[in-house]
């Protein structure tokens, strides 16, 4: 069985984020990065399949040089191979462009299962996974909490209001993993040492035969990134809990919102 895991490297959750000079993204030159948290859960699901039997786990990431760090971490945790799409133009893709590049890799790799994270911590689009499934014409599930692999892939999904549902996908298929599904393993020292010997294929869009992604193909363009100005309409109440509750009730009555 072959499992492909899509990993995105995103700014570290503790990184200090400042908007860049032309207001199009954050200043990311000097900050720490990490693997998108949802993607680490996706990787963990893939590695659990490997633990349980035979599986070849291929991790894939699009991004600049720094992305090798994320790929090596994944190899250290137990993935078998990595594919790094290193292409300045690919980095400028929108979500559809990314999905097209990942689809081109999936077509070469022919995995039985594709795992992605539910969304990325930085962009919050939740778009790449369904697009990728559509481009590959694969059955898919999003918001997946846990999976069970047999002849098919059973996915437990989270619905509105805390309800759960189980869907069964025939393989090949795609599942976008939601947080909380499992505890993510650490790379052991042995894993880190072995990772050095595992193959990382570096590819460009041209290598993959993709021409309709990258800057030229962008359909959703980020117009502006900014920190919303602080409003002056907030009022902070003070006093003991009882006093605050009293003030709050008076305010609500005054405003007539109820």
């Amino acid at each position: 069985m072959k499992v492909m895991v899509c990993l995105k490297q995103v700014p570290h959750q503790d990184a200090r984020l400042d908007v860049n000079a032309d207001g199009t993204w954050i200043q990311d030159g000097n900050i720490k990065f990490e693997i998108n948290s949802y993607d680490t859960y996706a990787l963990e699901e893939a590695l659990k399949i490997k633990d349980a039997g035979e599986a070849d786990v291929v991790v894939v990431s699009i991004g600049p040089d720094r992305v090798t760090q994320a790929l090596r971490t994944a190899l250290g945790m137990g993935a078998d191979r990595a594919i790094h799409v290193k292409d300045d133009d690919a980095d400028l893709s929108d979500t559809l462009g990314c999905a097209k590049i990942l689809a081109a890799i999936a077509k070469e790799e022919n995995p039985d299962i594709v795992f992605t994270g539910f969304m990325s911590d930085d962009g919050n689009f939740s778009a790449v996974a369904p697009m990728l499934a559509e481009l590959l014409d694969l059955p898919s599930a999003t918001g997946v909490l846990s999976v069970e692999v047999g002849d098919s892939l059973k996915c437990e999904r989270e619905l509105e209001g805390g309800a759960l549902e189980v869907v069964e996908l025939p393989k090949p298929c795609l599942a976008a993993i939601q947080t909380g599904a499992n505890q993510v393993r650490y790379a052991s020292l042995k894993g880190i040492m072995q990772a050095k010997k595992k193959p990382v294929d570096v590819k460009t869009m041209a290598d993959l035969g993709v021409s309709d992604a990258g800057a030229g193909a962008v359909k959703a363009k980020i117009e502006k990134v900014y920190v919303p100005p602080k409003g002056d309409s907030a009022e902070i109440l003070s006093g003991s809990t009882d006093e605050i509750v009293g003030q709050l009730v008076t305010k609500i009555k005054e405003l007539g919102v109820l």
Binding site: Q69, T73, L189, K190, M193
Partner: protein, 388 residues
């Protein structure tokens, strides 16, 4: 000159700090107060293979150097566990250095794989009450017997002796008066801590209380010839292979603790509001933290250079000693300033800074005191006449 952290070191940092961060301040405060060895934490690191970081690959380790080991311990000491956490791992990592460098093939085959798996705990038995820093005056003695050796004497500050199966023991085998040089005639043994011949008494101490340090009373302890490390009479010189790495590891640990102290103090200084402003807005709070941060950054570079020198086979003595001096000072100062930033709360156990402070204080005494480092630098780096 390239200051970019190599990939492998970045991996070590990331994974070690993630693993260590699973154990929070409350876990460590409880271990410290109950004087309990942190087994859960230790087992996690042992299982992930970290105990074998410097053990050669042929014996089941990773075969990495002191740069990598120090990087590991800096991250561990920078976690909530501070020195308790680092010391839990530290001894196994550096303590077997003399065995790796001078042990017989048979000894290595016998002990190194278990060391790499984290199953063998070794304590370091050098210091004695009456000898102090003057190691030539140790009185623990090993005398030839028909089956090997018999050891008698007393060691002090034997860290982790309660968990250890073995002690790397330095003992006199030729009286001091009969030796050409006063540090000749000492032999290093990898002796069993056989409770029938060894009594262990824990020392009540200021800090790092999850890791015990002990008095070790040795009474007619038999040691076989197989457990002699290297050459009889050359023990002190072989021990030196363990001492420089120990100083480097301690330096890195000191930086880890210092950075953590500055980090928690900075976060507190942003939040704590007194006189209608965050206390960090006062230069009296901000400047010491800024000063410590930069001092730690400089110290961090020094241990890295010392580790690099050691790993490439240079004489690392001067750099290892100076790193220990600078990192020890920077770390304690940082912890003291962090404690001050917390005001009265800094003095309360549940805020944890006082625990870092108690631990960082040790870095100025052990494994070698700052004064002895200054003696070393005066004599061996500046070429001044020896003062003692």
């Amino acid at each position: 000159m390239d200051f970019q952290l190599p990939d492998e070191l970045q991996d070590i940092r990331d994974n070690a700090s993630r693993l260590a961060s699973a154990y929070d301040d409350d876990y460590w405060l409880e271990r410290d107060e109950k004087k309990e060895f942190p087994w859960a934490f230790y087992n996690d690191f042992a299982e992930a293979g970290w105990m074998g970081i410097v053990v050669p690959e042929a014996y089941g380790g990773a075969g990495l150097g002191i740069v990598e080991a120090a990087t590991l311990l800096r991250e561990v000491a920078g976690s909530a566990g501070a020195m308790n956490a680092a010391s839990a791992l530290h001894l196994t990592i550096f303590g077997m250095g003399p065995v790796i460098h001078h042990g017989s093939e048979e000894m290595k085959q016998r002990y190194l794989p278990a060391t790499a798996r984290g199953e063998l705990h070794v304590s370091f038995g050098v210091t004695e009450d009456d000898a102090g820093t003057d190691t030539s005056r140790i009185r623990t003695q090993a005398v030839r017997s028909d089956k090997g050796w018999v050891v008698n004497g007393k060691k002090i500050w034997n860290t982790k002796a309660q968990q250890a199966q073995k002690v790397l023991l330095l003992a006199r085998t030729t009286p001091r008066e009969e030796c050409k040089r006063k540090l000749d005639g000492l032999t290093l043994f990898l002796a069993d801590i056989d409770r029938a011949h060894c009594e262990i008494r824990e020392i009540n101490k200021l800090g790092r209380n999850a890791i015990n340090s002990n008095e070790l009373f040795i009474n007619d302890l038999p040691v076989s010839d197989d457990d002699v490390v290297g050459e009889v009479g050359r023990g002190f010189y072989q021990l030196l292979d363990g001492l420089n790495p120990e100083r480097i590891l301690i330096s890195a640990e000191a930086c880890g603790i210092g950075f953590r102290a500055v980090e928690v103090a900075t976060a507190y200084a942003k939040e704590r509001t007194v006189f209608d402003r965050p206390i960090g807005q006062n230069q009296a709070i901000a400047h010491p933290l800024a000063d410590s941060y930069s001092e730690l950054l400089a110290s961090d570079l020094l241990w890295q250079k010392a580790a690099w020198a050691y790993d490439r086979g240079d004489n690392a003595g001067p750099l290892a000693n100076m790193a220990k001096l600078r990192c020890g000072e920077a770390s304690f100062r940082a912890c003291d300033r962090a404690l001050q930033t917390f005001g009265g709360f800094g003095y309360a156990r549940e805020y944890h800074v006082e625990r870092y402070w108690r631990e960082a204080r040790l870095m100025r005494i052990a494994p070698i005191s700052q004064e002895m480092v200054l003696n070393y630098v005066s004599e061996h780096v500046l070429d001044l006449p020896r003062s003692y």
